[in-house]
């Protein structure tokens, strides 16, 4: 054989087989990393993807997106579990010498290999439209790590309704842009254990909602997290909504002293008259105040008897008057005195008084009518649950009435309707406990207020304590790490394909990582929420001069050794 002939062998035997197949169409831009091929599975249980030689299994993580490139469709899926398999059980019995690099390289990916379990979530048709998955890709379809382009194609660009809330995991430079109009048109839940970043994430979402005019907000700010400055875990001062949005956000307070001490620029103080409290408000406090049915009945009886002065009169009644009352109203002595003891507690709160109602509440309601977002600070009273619930319930009831009336007056004319209102409550399960959810205004809003343009944003660490029916109305669920099995169950109930997300959910980072699923997203997505800091403020148009000064201050503080290293 001569030389030319020998070289010809190259042509006869093209160097194909060991090189990855290039025939599959990669997305624009970067070349996708091939992870493996589909080897089995089903729509309901998810797909098994055998990992490709050389794909480092330790770099895979649950929650990561993959793209399965079928012949003319692309499937989006999420890695929900990772397992190690071996092709022959005997290998596990007498394992080969993996300490030898040659042996390790030969065995891994062949006789022993990794399997990614992938939940298919979305199909992108050839023309680019996204649809829910109704089928699975065929055997041996190639699976790639999702690229920035892939993700952008699903979550769109930032525009009048889409707001950048964070990045998918492993794709730090990619943005998840959430459709805020869709988000607010149904109730939203933000869940997670304590310290996982719920309040920060809520603040980011509400910033977007204000920025994009997606809704007017009313925030019952239990722990003074939203309106003004907050000190983060590292001791840094982070801005509140009013500092970013100025007069588009008004701060009302129940505790002027606390607000002043924190230098909050307050727009109004809320005082509640005992005359404004109605028996319905007490019914809501049934659990918190440990009220029995007959105590609540007694409250209604007193109200019928004395009108709006019922609490004042009940508290100031002399023994004789009480004697007389018992006879006339046919109420039980025990219930009456127990009720009086409970009502007595209200007097401890300086923001509750027995004068005629002033117009402080009306001013808050007027602000909402004027389409301003309102943060109601509780100051030191946030820890007094009865105060929080009482005020939130009372105010919400009034606003609810206003909305119902306006909606009915608009007779379906959209231009006449009041703007979408999103009411944020923390510790939501205290309002939405199964025992009270049916009777309270929050239960009502969650269940039926969508048609009155009012929705809830509930922030909670114990979703399992929320009434199931209410939970089923929470269209979009955003959840950070939860470790209680019942909470995980509660959050996933009613989300399609949710069971496969369980592993993902239980393995989120302990902070600043969350999975968004439901109404507002085309498919569940695990995000790292944006950092709440200067870059974020600037993106919202925060004045550059001030921002620069702050950056300098911050740098100085860093040099001074306060706080740890961090990204600006």
């Amino acid at each position: 054989m001569n030389k030319a002939e020998a070289e010809n062998l190259d042509e006869w035997f093209p160097r194909g087989p060991l090189v990855p197949d290039e025939a599959t169409k990669p997305a624009r831009g970067e070349t996708p990393i091939r992870l493996g091929v589909v080897v089995g599975g089903s729509l309901s249980r998810g797909l098994a993807v055998r990992m490709e030689l050389g794909t480092p299994i330790e770099e895979m993580a649950v929650g990561r997106y993959v793209v399965i490139r079928g012949r003319d469709k692309r499937f989006f899926g999420m890695i929900t579990d990772i397992s190690l398999e071996s092709s022959n059980p005997q290998i596990q019995v007498s394992p080969p010498d993996f300490s030898d690099p040659f042996m390790a390289k030969v065995y891994s990916g062949t006789a022993t290999y990794g399997v990614l379990h992938v939940a298919p979530m979305l199909v992108i048709e050839e023309d680019g439209t996204a649809r829910p998955v109704k089928t699975v890709p065929s055997h041996f379809t190639d699976v790639f790590a999702a690229t920035a382009d892939d993700v952008n194609a699903v979550f769109g660009q930032e525009d009048e309704v889409h707001f950048h809330v964070g990045s998918p995991i492993e794709l730090e430079d990619t943005r998840v842009n959430l459709n805020l109009s869709r988000l607010v048109e149904r109730s939203v839940g933000i869940f997670g254990k304590s310290g996982t970043g719920k309040s920060y994430l809520t603040r980011i979402l509400i910033s977007g909602i204000i920025e994009k005019n997606a809704a007017v907000n009313l925030i019952f700010d239990m722990h003074n997290d939203y309106g003004w400055e907050v000190i983060n875990e590292l001791g840094r001062r982070d801005k509140g909504l009013k500092q970013l949005f100025d007069d588009r956000v008004l701060i009302f307070t129940l505790d002027r002293e606390s607000s002043e001490r924190r230098n909050v620029r307050v727009d109004g103080e809320i005082r509640l008259s005992l005359r404004e409290i109605e028996p319905e408000d007490l019914a809501m406090l049934r659990l918190t105040l440990d009220l029995s049915d007959s105590m609540v009945d007694t409250a209604y009886a007193l109200h019928r008897h004395w009108g709006d002065e019922w609490i004042i009169k009940a508290l100031s009644a002399t023994p004789d008057e009480i004697e007389d009352l018992l006879e006339r109203l046919n109420v039980h002595t025990g219930s009456l005195s127990a009720l009086r003891r409970r009502l007595e507690r209200f007097r401890r709160f300086p923001f509750i008084h027995s004068d005629r109602p002033d117009d402080s509440l009306n001013r808050l309601i007027a602000a909402i009518e004027a389409e301003k977002s309102v943060v109601l600070e509780f100051g030191r009273y946030g820890n007094a649950l009865e105060a929080y619930i009482l005020v939130a319930n009372y105010l919400t009831r009034r606003i609810h009435d206003m909305y119902v009336e306006k909606m009915e007056r608009s007779l379906g004319d959209r231009s006449m309707q009041p703007p979408q209102l999103l009411i944020t409550i923390e510790e939501a399960h205290k309002f939405l406990d199964p025992q009270i959810a049916r009777q309270t205004i929050f239960g009502t809003i969650a269940r039926e207020m969508r048609k009155y343009n009012v929705t809830l944003l509930v922030v909670d660490q114990r979703p399992s304590a929320i009434d199931e029916e209410v939970m089923s109305q929470i269209g979009t669920r955003i959840t950070a790490l939860l470790d209680n099995e019942r909470d995980i169950q509660a959050v996933l109930t009613g989300i399609s394909g949710a069971s496969s997300l369980r592993e993902v959910l239980a393995r989120l980072e302990t902070k600043q990582q969350a999975i968004i699923m439901g109404h507002a997203v085309p498919m569940p997505v695990v995000i790292r929420p944006r950092d709440w800091g200067l870059d974020f403020y600037r993106a919202l148009g925060y004045v550059e001069g001030e921002a620069l000064k702050e950056k300098a201050d911050e740098a100085r503080r860093d040099l001074g050794g306060e706080g740890g290293p961090r990204r600006l």
């Binding site: 062998l9 190259d10 006869w12 035997f13 030689l53 290998i91 080969p96 040659f102 042996m103 390289k105």
Partner: protein
């Protein structure tokens, strides 16, 4: 190509699965267990590619006598080694063939015929043939052949003719192919892998 372009042997007998060729001791040259040889079946026909799996030196009456004789002169022994009356027999396992359409990793359609010339494959041919590894199957499944040692030796040859920086990868790819083929028999797999494992792992 020098030495390699000289024929090393003539076919003695053959079949589609393999053949035996005979030669003189001084023609043995680079023949060795596990090396690749080729024989062109007919003018313009297929070229059969095979692996040497046995080299056999039979005795003959003269050797028998010499073994018994005393004080045989050195020159007689040498002469007897080279100018024997029976040929050295080289057994070859067919692992593929080449025809007008290219290289095939399967048995040739026809066996080589008696007295066809057998050549050693040169480096380029070995590289081209071992670019794909599907001939493993023919070796592993061959009856009456020390298939594990044979495959290991052939892979050693194929690795050696490659650039030094491609050797390790070649052996790893080969090992992985074996891992797939011998999935059902981990002991046999481990056996071959131990045989092909490079002495020292490359420095990268």
């Amino acid at each position: 190509m020098g030495e390699q372009s000289q024929p090393i042997a003539y076919v003695l007998r053959g079949s589609t699965t393999g053949f035996v060729c005979g030669t003189r001791v001084n023609r043995l040259g680079a023949t060795a267990f596990g090396r690749f040889v080729r024989v062109t079946v007919a003018e313009g026909g297929e070229t059969v590619l095979g692996l040497i799996y046995g080299i056999r030196i039979d005795d003959d009456p003269l050797v028998r006598q010499l073994v018994l004789a005393e004080d045989v002169p050195e020159s007689t022994v040498n002469d007897q080694r080279v100018n024997r009356m029976v040929p050295v027999e080289i057994s070859v396992l067919n692992v593929g063939y080449r025809d007008g359409r290219g290289l095939h990793h399967s048995l040739p359609p026809r066996p080589p015929l008696s007295l066809h010339l057998v050549f050693m494959c040169d480096d380029a041919e070995v590289i081209a043939f071992t670019r794909e590894l599907s001939f493993f199957r023919l070796v592993l499944n061959a009856p009456d052949v020390p298939s594990e040692d044979l495959l290991a030796a052939a892979l050693g040859v194929a690795a050696d003719v490659r650039e030094s920086d491609a050797r390790m990868q070649f052996l790893i790819d080969a090992g992985r192919e074996l891992a797939r083929l011998l999935n059902h028999d981990p002991r046999r797999l481990e056996n071959i892998l131990r045989l092909i494992k490079p002495e020292e792992v490359s420095h990268e």
